[in-house]
């Protein structure tokens, strides 16, 4: 076994133990694993399944059901653009097309330099200052092409 894997197994074990006693702990566990690793490593599945006494297929089914969970690492920055109606009414489609062009990637993809992953999101509750975006957890409103270019320059020096 590679040393990295043993370390991550240790870390996943800690996460699992920290969630002992919760009723229905799987989603919080997956969030915590993703927060620690940036994604859900394949190695984590049997450990989670065994600790929570469910099948691996069940864990995998849950991971694949939810849009948030990823099984591959993301870019260094995650840019989420709202695609929902209130943002559409303020030009979100145009802004999103600009983002895809500027980054040269489509939805759910990561730029080849690993700097940015582009994700769609359906409503950030910022519908009165649309179009809205979330960059690494930071909220942005009234995002137009210029604001997006500035943002991309900031995260992609």
């Amino acid at each position: 076994m590679m040393p990295g894997i043993a370390d991550s197994a240790e870390q996943i074990g800690e996460i699992l133990r920290a969630h002992d006693g919760l009723e229905g702990p799987l989603i919080p566990v997956l969030h915590a694993v993703q927060a620690a690793f940036g994604y859900i490593p394949g190695d984590a599945l049997p450990l989670i399944a065994q600790h929570l006494n469910v099948s691996r297929a069940e864990v995998h089914g849950v991971i694949s059901f939810y849009h948030d969970f990823r099984e591959e690492p993301a870019g260094r920055h995650i840019l989420k653009l709202c695609r929902a109606e209130a943002c559409q009414a303020m030009g979100a489609d145009r802004v999103a097309a600009h983002a895809r062009d500027a980054l040269g990637i489509g939805w759910h993809q990561t730029t080849p330099d690993g700097s940015v992953t582009l994700e769609p999101v359906f409503c950030l509750g910022l519908c009165a200052c649309a179009p809205a975006a979330l960059v690494d957890g930071r909220v942005l409103g009234r995002v137009d092409e210029a604001r997006l270019d500035a943002l991309i320059a900031e995260v992609r020096p």
Binding site: D68, A84, C87, F122, C127, A128, C129, R138
Partner: protein, 510 residues
């Protein structure tokens, strides 16, 4: 000197953090003693970041404030300035409201239990602690409060079912999965007055005999989640939550859970599956969650606003609340005005305001200055209303009669550049992306729906009746409102804006 700059995420999205940094830097440079309070939002999003200062005449507002305005505001002694708006409470948007659920939002420091109590917080709970569980439930029933999450089910009746069930454990689950486009009332109260929600959940626990609550929020709301987590911690330290509510009542505690980006988990049974650690698949009803909910135990599932409205009902009495409203829609509703509008934000008012008054008067028309074409009410499953229906008064039955729904009271305005065929396509696409997969009319129907709209866009007018049939099938054969109500936006677009569907047919033919 006290300066208020909201911590609300809409204010942050428009630069509130930069304004706070500028205020602190300017105060330091001038050697002034300044306390910055991070309040919630007053709901006037077009004026955010809205900065306020205390004065003898009450709070004075300035907005929208950019970091570049801050030095000038200090120079002016926070008096006469281009961004000065006068006393906050005198602004027309504030004066015209009936703020019951949102009375404290934007006023207090959301994480100060002292502030909360100084503004009436816990009064409802203290009264409830002196009442029998039956009397608490009766008070909520008599208030006429109906679920604000969309379905409009009477809250007191739901509570009565849970109260009447016998079980070793019962739960209160707060549905904070606010996924509807155009809605942000839950987010605003969670960021601006989270103790009101906690108080409402505690009262629900007393009423039905539950000692455990969950708030199921969404990962798209990082700021709200941070405020909630801290509010729960403070509520425990204070004794509002814990082994004995305020040292006077039974035990009640709350756990915050975060969803993982699935719209369908806002549906109550999918939400319960998700809480249990499963895929967010919708459950067939019966059994009702009220009888077999979380872990098979009797569970109240209520929307954030339903629960956050309970304290004021207990504080001021059922009849006080019930006296507001129209027909079977009692009390107040926080309208969320969004999309292409000059003035967007949250406006709490008694049911009954016409859509025209909301869009033309409150919102002031579109941000782009172009004519309003369509207004989607009630989120992605809500109908598109044309101007011809602007006389519709805001109420559950009133909207249903017009082939629509009020949902969570989100109102999204589109100008005349909107292509309603594209909006119909999006409704189907959204349903296809978010379907939980349990029933065929939704899972397969929505994919067919996108294809059918594309055929219409290519000029195939024969596909229009196919789209209508497909909508009928989805309506009749879907287990939940995702598949069942997606026909609302689609059919309303087709019915009220037929030119957008036939025009594409014509254009393609030419």
């Amino acid at each position: 000197m006290r300066i208020y700059v909201p911590r609300d995420s809409a204010a942050k999205a428009l630069g509130a953090e930069e304004v706070v940094a500028a205020v602190r830097a300017e105060a330091l440079r001038r050697g002034l003693e300044v306390t910055v309070v991070r309040n919630g939002s007053r709901g006037m999003v077009w004026l955010e970041p809205l900065l306020e200062v205390d004065s003898e005449a009450g709070r004075i507002a300035f907005g929208p404030v950019g970091p570049g305005d801050v030095a000038g505001l200090f120079d002016a002694g926070f008096g006469s300035h281009a961004k000065a708006l006068g006393p906050t409470e005198d602004l027309p948007w504030m004066k015209a409201q009936t703020r019951l659920t949102f009375a404290r939002c934007g006023v207090i420091d959301p994480l100060s239990l002292d502030d909360f109590q100084a503004h009436g917080g816990l009064a409802g709970l203290r009264r409830a602690l002196g009442m029998t569980p039956d009397a608490i439930v009766a008070e909520v029933t008599d208030s006429g409060l109906r679920g604000r999450g969309g379905a409009g089910f009477p809250t007191g009746i739901k509570w009565k079912t849970v109260a009447g069930a016998t079980a070793d454990r019962k739960y209160i689950v707060c549905n904070a999965d606010e996924g509807d486009s155009g809605t942000f009332a839950d987010r605003m109260i969670m960021e601006g007055d989270p103790f009101t929600l906690i108080e409402g959940m505690v009262i629900a626990g007393l009423g039905v005999g539950a000692d455990k609550g969950f708030i199921y929020s969404r990962s798209e709301y990082p700021d709200a989640n941070a405020v909630l987590a801290e509010a729960i911690r403070l509520a425990r330290a204070f004794g509002l939550l814990g082994a004995s509510v305020l040292g006077l009542g039974p035990a009640f505690d709350i756990e915050l859970r975060i969803g993982a980006g699935a719209y369908v988990c806002g549906e109550e049974t999918a939400l319960l599956n998700s809480l249990e650690g499963k895929r967010g698949v919708v459950r067939a009803k019966p059994p009702l969650p009220a009888l077999e909910g979380f872990m098979g135990k009797p569970t109240v599932v209520n929307n954030v606003i339903s629960l956050a409205t309970v304290p004021v009902i207990l504080e001021r009495g059922a009849s006080f609340y019930r006296d507001f409203g129209l027909g079977r829609s009692r009390g107040t509703i926080p309208l969320q005005i969004a999309g292409n509008v000059r003035r967007g934000g949250l406006f709490e008012t008694a049911f009954g305001m016409s859509l025209g008054a909301i869009v033309d008067d409150l919102a002031g028309g579109t941000a782009t200055g172009r004519p309003v074409k369509a207004v989607q009410v009630g989120g992605p499953l809500g109908a598109y209303f044309p101007r011809a229906l602007f006389d519709t008064p805001f109420g559950y039955e009133e909207y249903a009669q017009k082939g629509g729904l009020i949902g969570h009271a989100g109102i999204v305005v589109f100008d005349d550049s909107a292509d309603m065929l594209a909006q119909a396509r999006f409704a189907m696409e959204f349903c296809a992306i978010e379907s939980c997969g349990k029933c065929t009319p939704c899972r397969i129907g929505a994919v067919r729906g996108v294809e059918t709209v594309d055929r219409i866009a290519r000029g195939d007018a024969a596909a229009i009746p196919l789209l209508t049939d497909l909508c009928e099938t989805m309506k009749a054969g879907s287990l939940c409102a995702l598949g069942g109500f997606t026909p609302y936006p689609v059919m309303s677009a087709l019915t009220h804006f037929p030119d957008d569907f036939h025009r594409s047919a014509k254009e393609a033919a030419e």
